[in-house]
């Protein structure tokens, strides 16, 4: 029996929108996005979440990592101890060991590539102003260790003499979309998360980077003992990297299994894949 790292039960979320009706009266429309959703993510595995546009995948991630409240349910994060995530703040959840990447990157534009890595570091010594001022020696040492770590992470994926390290002083705003996406994945290594939620890691990325992203995901799981939960639209990629797959439709998980099994599921074929 595989170990579980994330266990979601009976999760529901509705958005309330005010709409204009034909009689020009304001009305409130309730859109129920997640409906008694149950889902489990296995420890040490890559689990994919697939589903149509607007089916609530990103919303589910936002609830798991605390950016959004849920209406009901429970989300248990099992990392040594069992933590109920609902009701916790995003930064608290991150410090428990749950990280994420974003569909729209969220890179620190004005920081350099290296600074983007360093700022993600788990060790926050030196981020307290007094320590910054009064313990320069120790501070410098930790900064050096973090820099070494960043270098190793980048070279593990791209080899020595790679673009990212050569341009480490370049501001991140000058990077291409694909490079920013990769940077968003690379910084996750700095933070030593136990479970990471990756929102469409390959979307908008040139296929030449697919191999790098595959490398990154495999490294997360094999070398760094993370568990990965990712949203993907690229079925080929899902088949290639994921151990498990869930299909979300009408607010709950309608098919689960290996990627091959889920892709063969008639409901998935009819409603999502369209063949």
């Amino acid at each position: 029996m595989a170990e579980t790292i994330l266990h979601i039960e009976n999760l529901s979320k509705a958005f309330v929108r005010s709409i204009k009706t034909a009689r020009k009266k304001d009305a409130i429309e309730k859109i129920s996005l997640l409906n008694h959703l149950d889902l489990t993510v296995e420890k040490g595995k890559i689990t994919a979440l697939i589903g149509g546009n607007g089916s609530g995948k990103t919303t589910l991630f936002n609830i798991i990592n605390g950016f959004l409240d849920a209406d009901q349910g429970s989300i248990k994060f099992i990392n040594g101890r069992i933590h109920e995530l609902l009701g916790k703040k995003p930064d608290t959840i991150a410090r428990l060991g749950l990280g994420r990447s974003f569909q729209d990157n969220h890179i620190f534009d004005e920081l350099s590539i290296l600074e983007n890595m360093l700022v993600a570091g788990k060790e926050t010594f030196g981020e307290t102003p007094f320590v910054s001022l009064f313990s320069p020696g120790r501070n410098r040492k930790i900064e050096k260790q973090k820099t070494e770590r960043a270098k190793t992470i980048i070279e593990n994926i791209f080899g020595s003499g790679n673009y990212f390290w050569q341009h480490k002083a370049e501001k991140a705003k000058n990077l291409s979309h694909g490079q920013r996406r990769i940077l968003g994945l690379l910084r996750i290594f700095m933070a030593d998360f136990k479970l990471v939620l990756l929102d469409e890691p390959t979307t908008g990325v040139n296929p030449e980077f697919f191999q790098s992203i595959t490398d990154i995901l495999n490294r997360m799981v094999n070398e760094n003992k993370m568990s990965v939960f990712l949203i993907e639209h690229n079925m080929g990629f899902v088949k290639q990297v994921a151990h498990n797959c869930h299909f979300i439709h009408d607010g709950c998980i309608r098919a689960s299994g290996t990627p091959a099994e889920v892709i063969d599921n008639p409901l998935v074929r009819n409603t999502y894949l369209g063949f």
């Binding site: 990592n65 950016f67 703040k89 995003p90 930064d91 608290t92 991150a94 410090r95 990280g99 994420r100 974003f102 969220h106 890179i107 620190f108 534009d109 004005e110 920081l111 600074e115 360093l118 700022v119 993600a120 788990k122 926050t124 010594f125 030196g126 981020e127 307290t128 102003p129 910054s132 001022l133 320069p136 501070n139 900064e143 910084r187 933070a191």
Partner: protein, 289 residues
């Protein structure tokens, strides 16, 4: 010579104010309209410490910084819970409250009469800092100390976290950083160091009254920060030097004082407008407003 030194002392006082304000207005992107209040609190605490408590230079300075920073911490905790514009309004409210208290709590602050005859601070109880040259030296040393401290902060992991927060607070949250704590730390430090200017002003001029620390002054400080530019150290330095030296230049070109006083506000206003149109990062800043 004395005239020149006087200008330079005032430049030093404003450098400390703008370099401090840069940490919140520039790095943390929090537009605080309450910096003159902290400047004023620092000045009044200094007057109390030197006159009533009879403290020497460093204890008085330290006390002034500590009390002002504590008030900054409390104000920070309250106002930083508010978002963007509401934060600005909260600091504006604070600024107005402090001014009103200084003006009306006559039994303590002497209100509009001000506090005259603030004694010169004594260095270790030995050397009296009195006269324009000693104050020039003292203010330069303090300004340099503050510049060094803030330079270190800006380029420290703490400064990096603030810059990251300015760029993308969502991403920083997802990396486990407590945003409110970061903001509160920046606000407390910036407010505390504004007291150094208050100390210098009170001890140098030897007379303080509430009008030196009103809303106009708060806006003046922010204007200096914006004109110079934020995010680095040279921006606030240039801003401070610019706003202090400009009116003196007007005097040099022969403009009568009463016209120059109005002219100066008009010129600041125009410069701000022109900068915001054509050079939004100020004269030497990293960030666009």
């Amino acid at each position: 010579m004395n005239y020149l030194l006087h200008i330079l002392i005032m430049v030093n006082i404003y450098i400390i104010l703008t370099v401090s304000a840069n940490l919140i207005v520039g790095l943390a992107n929090l537009l605080s309209l309450g910096q003159a209040a902290f400047y004023g609190i620092g000045a009044y605490i200094t007057a109390w410490a030197l006159m009533t408590l009879g403290l020497t230079l460093f204890p008085a300075l330290l006390l002034s910084i500590l009390i002002t920073a504590s008030i900054g911490f409390i104000i920070g905790i309250i106002s930083l819970r508010l978002k963007d514009d509401y934060f600005i309004l909260a600091t504006l409210g604070f600024q107005i409250i402090i001014y009103t208290v200084l003006y009306n709590w006559i039994s303590v602050t002497r209100g509009p009469y001000g506090i005259p005859g603030i004694p010169s601070p004594k260095l270790f109880g030995l050397v009296e800092i009195d006269g324009i040259l000693p104050f020039f030296l003292l203010s330069s040393i303090l300004a340099i100390a503050v510049i060094v401290i803030f330079r270190n902060l800006i380029y420290s992991p703490f400064g990096r976290a603030l810059k990251a927060m300015r760029d993308d607070s969502i991403a920083l949250l997802s990396l486990g950083r407590n945003i409110t704590k970061l903001k509160t730390q920046a606000f407390t430090i910036a407010s505390g160091f504004s007291a150094v200017s208050g100390f210098l002003f009170a001890a140098y001029i030897t007379y303080i009254d509430p009008t030196s620390f009103n809303l106009d002054e708060a806006i003046f400080i922010i204007s200096a920060v914006m004109i110079g530019g934020t995010g680095n150290i040279k921006g606030p330095l240039i801003g401070a030097a610019f706003v202090v030296i400009l009116p003196e230049m007007l005097r040099f070109v022969g403009m009568p004082d009463n016209i120059a006083a109005n002219m100066r506000m008009i010129i600041y206003g125009l410069i701000l407008i022109v900068l915001m149109m054509f050079r939004r990062q100020g004269l030497a800043g990293d960030y666009k407003f």
